[in-house]
């Protein structure tokens, strides 16, 4: 499914702190942004990996958590009304005839802009897949890492793997539909919400869910079907019959499709011009953890600096007919109007 292209000034790939601050620096220069992120939420690693962990090295913010930083940045960029396209991966990047770029996402959103900013951190978050023989051949058939349509799981003999909220939520949601449902986790302790754990344990007591403590070590049955799964525990191995495996081992980061966009890479990091943060492709910029240059530090504050410099050069692509004058938000009523405070 390909939609009508959305035309904007700048497409930002990655809605982490650096992508968010790019919206601010761009906004001050009359550059409108649309952001794409594969996560289902805004904030990148700050929201996914360490929402509750403290950060102490944001200038003038002595202490905040990853989630608080995300919330503050969202407040800061609100005047610029950025639009977010979440739950989709930036997949294809093509140069448009007559200049500019077209970015197509995994769900078919098409964005066109004279500039693209890659603020993708360590890449996009994707589910961890079972590194077992036969797992790949069964993926999407009998082995799944997400539930798209619950109805697909009706009447199945399901084994769910994992101990977090996804594993527990789907255990509770799919149990009424499934022919049988078992849960496997490496230890008899679950990090999911206590209420979900209590409800799961009640189902186990009632005999409606079977709980196995151990780790999956083998998949059996003619591919792409599944008949049995081997579970290993300190007390030994056992086979569990099932036709559907749903594995929730959290998310990991991988570079993904942008590795194939023709940008100069150095050890999986994008090379940039340090005066403008432009890549080897005109109009394609990169900032934050995904870039490399002599002296680069993977700090959020470095990404903020890179965003400010990037916006200066991006302005020339977006408003080629406008002369750029350097101004401060403290003194410029023009900038204050953009921020909605004057």
């Amino acid at each position: 499914m390909t939609a009508e292209p959305i035309r904007t000034d700048m497409v930002v790939v990655g809605a982490g702190p650096v992508g968010l601050f790019a919206v601010f620096e761009a906004g001050l220069l009359n550059i409108r942004c649309e952001l794409v992120d594969n996560l289902d939420k805004i904030g990148g690693q700050c929201a996914e990996l360490y929402p509750d962990k403290p950060i102490y090295d944001i200038p003038a913010v002595p202490r905040c958590t990853g989630q608080q930083l995300t919330d503050l940045l969202l407040e800061q960029i609100r005047p610029f009304q950025p639009r977010f396209h979440l739950n989709q991966e930036a997949e294809r990047l093509e140069r448009l005839e007559g200049g500019g770029w077209r970015l197509t996402t995994s769900t078919g959103t098409v964005l066109e802009a004279p500039t693209v900013v890659i603020a993708a951190g360590a890449g996009s978050f994707v589910p961890r897949r079972l590194p077992l023989p036969g797992a790949e051949a069964r993926e999407g058939r009998s082995v799944h890492y997400a539930v798209r349509r619950m109805a697909d799981f009706r009447g199945k003999r399901i084994l769910i793997a994992g101990g977090g909220d996804s594993a527990l939520d789907w255990t509770l949601n799919l149990e009424p539909l499934a022919d049988s449902l078992a849960l496997v986790h490496r230890r008899d302790d679950f990090r999911a919400a206590p209420d979900s754990v209590a409800r799961m344990r009640a189902l186990v007591t009632e005999g409606r869910v079977k709980l196995h403590i151990g780790q999956i070590t083998g998949l059996h049955g003619p591919e792409p079907d599944l008949e049995r799964v081997t579970i290993k525990s300190p007390s030994g191995e056992q086979d569990v019959a099932c036709d559907t495996l749903l594995a929730f081992y959290g998310l990991k980061m991988e570079l993904g499709p942008l590795a194939g966009w023709g940008l100069n890479l150095n050890r999986n990091l994008i090379e940039v011009d340090v005066a403008t943060f432009e890549t080897n492709a005109p109009g394609i910029f990169a900032i934050g953890d995904i870039i490399t240059y002599p002296g680069k530090l993977k700090l959020i504050l470095s990404g903020f600096h890179e965003a400010a410099l990037m916006a200066q050069k991006a302005h020339a692509y977006v408003h080629p007919d406008q002369k750029l004058v350097f101004r401060y938000t403290t003194s410029s009523t023009d900038l204050q109007k953009k921020l909605g405070v004057a």
Binding site: Y50, R128, P131, G164, Q215, P234, G250, K252, M253
Partner: protein, 104 residues
């Protein structure tokens, strides 16, 4: 100088200089061995998973609940599995032996 012995995923052995005060993850990473350590060492992922040689387990402070929870996101977790960012290196750990956990 105190040493750490690291076995990589192909079975190759590496002897690294262990800087006291650095985490075992940092020592492995600074020596360019393949350890992802995606979260940078704040116990928010499990991509610095290592197996600690049994002989050394008793000399390490046990894993916190938080570390044990994060190990849920590692693969082939064993009794001697640890997150290497949660092991501060000390002089008296001279000779510590670890094996890199599988990529996951």
């Amino acid at each position: 100088m105190a040493k750490i012995h690291v076995t990589d995923r192909e079975g190759g052995e590496h002897t690294l200089e262990g800087t006291p005060g650095w985490s075992v993850m940092e020592i492995i990473r600074e020596n360019d061995l393949p350890i992802e350590a995606a979260c940078g060492g704040c116990c928010a992922c499990a991509t610095c998973h290592v197996y600690v040689d049994e002989a050394w387990l008793a000399q390490l402070a046990p894993a916190s609940d938080e570390e044990d929870r994060m190990l849920d996101e590692a693969y082939e977790v064993k009794e001697n599995s640890r997150l290497s960012c949660q092991i501060p290196f000390r002089e008296d750990l001279d000779g510590l032996k670890v094996t890199l956990g599988p990529e996951f």
